[in-house]
Symmetry: C2
Subunit: 230 residues, 2 copies
Amino acid sequence: MSTSGGASPPEQPEVFTRIRLADRRDVPNIHRLIHQMAEFELLTDLFSATESSLSSTLFPSPPLLPFHSFTVLILEISQSPIHNAAEDDSDQGFRPITCRIALKSTFADPEESIFASPRGDGLVVAGFLLCFPNYSTFMGRPGIYVEDIFVRESWRRLGMGKMMLAAVAREAARMGCGRVEWCVLDWNKNAIAFYEGMGAEVLPQWRICRLTGEELSKYAVDEEDSAGRR
Amino acid sequence: MSTSGGASPPEQPEVFTRIRLADRRDVPNIHRLIHQMAEFELLTDLFSATESSLSSTLFPSPPLLPFHSFTVLILEISQSPIHNAAEDDSDQGFRPITCRIALKSTFADPEESIFASPRGDGLVVAGFLLCFPNYSTFMGRPGIYVEDIFVRESWRRLGMGKMMLAAVAREAARMGCGRVEWCVLDWNKNAIAFYEGMGAEVLPQWRICRLTGEELSKYAVDEEDSAGRR
């Protein structure tokens, strides 16, 4: 415990956070965050994203409608209160969410210069979330699927992941969605406990099937050659 | 074996199939198929879709762009070759796929009058597939997620499910998608063997997390009341 119990409390260390929609200028940071996530999940062999592929698919012109297609939220932190600039308030369909978090002690973020925010003002990017609509036929309603939620090592265990997921849950509930869903690795017990604490259930019976690489690309030609089309 | 090996082979029983994009007129059949699927998966307690909810979310005006949003394919069967009408050929972005399947014996479909196709001509709806785009951050590319693939009992084990999945895989490969993904129940060994035979891998480690019902709806209000927004 680094806080003292004296009658005159010391100044409380704190950090200010903002969750906002990403734009094209965030791509270099998003790319670095995805690579860190691949390292954390021991899946760097699956990492092939480039800044160019992210930019063209996530931030095309005209821009995708937030929460109705691929949507990226950026988590920024600052040592001082964050004031939304005009450009932030113009983010269609998602008002940035700012918050103050009390810290038990001050600490350094060794990557803060690498992850400087393109919005300036000393803001540092600490994480991101990527989501998109999915659909439940049983409910006959859309939902939201969270593909990734990632907070850099320095800023974990402060509730920031929960803040991003709660922001998506709020949007989903407001849009009348039936579900918010995401996946977790079965060995990641901390994450499972965290998600259950948020009200989620972990479904034990479903397994993901994936068709990718050469096994997928052969369907581009196979079908016309061999499937007996008339 | 019901086919004979004689020098003059008997007339081979056969059925003709078509896979086409669904439209709003298919909603009653889609609704019935989803209910049958819920029964098969022992999940009728999760079934709350109505024709109205399906119609407004899957077939809004203007229509959703196939494979770029929620997309429903309909599987039809007929005793005679299926000729695409002008309206079928105008299906934006997906040319109907027709095929002939040889049968080992003739048999009755006890539900054929219930599942008559709105396209007439004696066509009967035998199944459906619902899919939508997803996104792989590791690949930096979109993919396609197949939420449901269902063939009615009378028409199983004839390769029709594979035909629908192959149709989606072909579209995905042509669109430059990185992956086609779907889920399977871990006790459905027939389905797992079938999917693996199509080139898919079943991922053992991932589990689905789901936030739904009251646990989801409370996020619509919780966040503003309690998350320390400034």
